[in-house]
Amino acid sequence: MSAAAQFLDQAKALSCVHCGLCLSYCPTYLETGNENDSPRGRIYLMRAIQSGQLGAEAAPVRHVDLCLGCRACETACPSGVPYGTLLEQTRDYIEKNHRRGLFQRLLRWIVIEQVFPFPWRLRLALLPVRVIRLLRLGFLMPRFAREMMELLPQRLAGGKLPAERLAKRPAKGQVGFVEGCVMPVLFGNTNESSAELLQRQGWDVITPRGQGCCGALYAHSGQLAKARECARRNIAAFEGQALDAIIINAAGCGSTLVEYGELLKDDPAWSERAEAFSAKVEDLVTWLDESRFAVSGSDEKVTYHDACHLCHAQGISAKPRALVKAKSSDRFVELAESDLCCGSAGSYNLTEPEMASRLQQRKVQHIIDSGAEVVVTTNPGCLLQIQSGLHKAGAHHVRAVHIADYLLEGESDDD
């Protein structure tokens, strides 16, 4: 029994006392009933790999791959095990010590490394999709590509924000805005709405030009070195400005931005700067003031889906509900299993389509059962996943919208 490299933070790994309270909060365990697909089981596997009892071989890697990284287990864990950190450390080790099949290698390389983190490449990649859709040639594509295509919204709306937009009422201060990679390409309107909301609440919105991908896809897939590069670039881009906060409207990116401090803690030149950056990061929902919204005249029933990286990774679940309720009042209905992952999980729905689709169906069924006509959420991945799920289920009467767009609906311009 040879000891493998010490990739796990030993103290963090040992803080799991194997009580099992996480089990029924884990989406994959709920689906498979297999302890290997549970947080407690995965930590057991990670520890076994670390001790050398198991190698980074196909079976354990399979179960670590199947993890969504939704971190619902962290919400459930009484011991405060930082599961997300352990997962990233394990995936980093696996990427260096395990060779995957050709298809998975190619898929991961294209999706995670070459396309998503670069808005212009994403835009380019979407060109053929537009053409195929226009000519209705989808049936010619292989299945995995069709599934990828189905995830894309029917209307692709891009749009970049100007470098600076001034507050629409006496300014309280200025905030930086993180555009993200997917947002400006697929949800340009949502970035527009977010900036508009901030301006109306009295904030100048600065969108620094040097920013890039937050690094979440790299970090979640075990490429910590690349994730750190992204972090350094963004820290540098925002550092020069006097900002009251750095606002992000994508929960998945936000959860990585708030962890730059942890990501760069061993880099003496950057650790303090990373801490300072992370301390300023706020999700859009925490920065908006719900008392500024009046109950809207619409009679649509509304529900809310918790993006994992907002509610589990950042512990934010009351504030977005307060915002949605401010507009919907008694038309708000709670969603069953609202904090259970929808299966999107970054690039997961591309690398693990089968499990992603099971969770998508589960989520969509709950949405339909709730009777809501609008489902509001805070993350582009969830939006894509839920929109395509509703489409597949034929639930055309239900809209999935980002909270920024929802909050702006029906608001008058002169507010």
Partner: protein, 481 residues
Amino acid sequence: MKSKADKKDLTRRLAEIVGDDAVLTDEQELVVYECDAYTLQKNLPTAVVLPKSAREVAAIVRLCADLDLPIIPRGAGTSLSGAVLAVDGGVMIALTRMNRVLNVDPRNRRALVEAGCVNAWITRDAEKHGLFYAPDPSSQPACTIGGNIATNSGGPHTLKNGVTTNHVLGYEMVLPDGTVEWLGVEPNGGEEVGGYDLRGAGIGSEGMFGVVTRALVRLSKTPPAFKTFLGVFASVEQASRAVSDIIAAGIVPAALEMMDQLITQALEEAYRFGFPLDAGAVLIVELDGLANGVEQQARQVDEICRQNKASEVRLARDDAERAALWKCRKRAFGAIGRLSPNYVTQDGVVPRGKLPEIMRFIRTVSERHDLRIPNVFHAGDGNIHPLILYDERDPAQVKRALQAGDDILGKCIELGGSVTGEHGIGAEKIDFMSRQFTRDDLEAMQQLRRVFDPEKRCNPHKMFPGAKRCAEFTQKKQVAA
């Protein structure tokens, strides 16, 4: 193992019953099944199967009978006594895919559930009818009804509501020869059943009579009013006296729980509830019932706490604060991960009046073995849960932890109590059985067991002295550098 089947053949035959994706025989995937929440003993099962129906369970059990293989029923694996440890290998039947609430019948206040259904899900589905499932073990968000039946689980609210056996009307069980029986009240049957109460015999049998596949449970009406107090005391002794006085006054609180200083400190770090960090002990007292009665008892409880020198008696302001308090209490075991890499939870019972004595004794044990032992327990029924903290990387500490547990449980017997309140004997507390029971008592229990399982293949090597132990008793596997 006397198995006639080689592993490949076993894998194939199990897969014929449940499908390929429901059979695990690769050691790399069996590792996570080598223990439950009691991690001092570990051993790999020969196979794990994940059936979806009672019919599949019966077919697996018949196959194991043909091959003379042990069967180990398993739910969520939250047992604290090694109840689902595969001591001698065998086929582990995990009921985690049979986890549905099949129906809630509010008129008759019953629910029919599959054995792998998580305890808390019953209340989740029943609460819209103003009903709940009463037994509430701390692990209720994860543990399953099948496991609750096996150990006759309790929880903080057992003081007033009773334990699992008071709330499970009947259940379906696959006997070790593969026949399927329904014991007790049937899903559409009347409340009373003639003959011996075999249902009652099976509850608490620790999975040694067969594999439970469905259960019919009783639902209770949610009380109209609650009052939940936090009493703050300088010492465990003072809090214990308050407990005795509350019971002596004829009050039956829904729950009466105590937590000592080490526990409240860990919980405060985890949940920031606002526990006083300098208090020697805190009591959680919950009263429920009709508003008037609760009001009057609340005044009495407040007075009794103050007579026993409570420095503060705090009433939960609203449902949210009450929920926060219970969240802290129920997650107390898990929060221990903040204090120590490992712990072993003891589950002893003493007569209520002996609580101060056992608490003093635990303190001396803690000093003698140089181990921290926080306490969180059901004070109302004298059910103590000392949590012995150790580090499995240090073999000497492991030995001292085991000895400390032995000392404490020995004292419980001496004081007229028991070595288990609700966690069961499992693999952990076998040695105590002959100290608590006479040879004749144990033989009578074995006779009952043989009625259900003449070949002793169902969850073997548990509960009775003379059982086989795992060759490797802890710490070798998860060695840390």
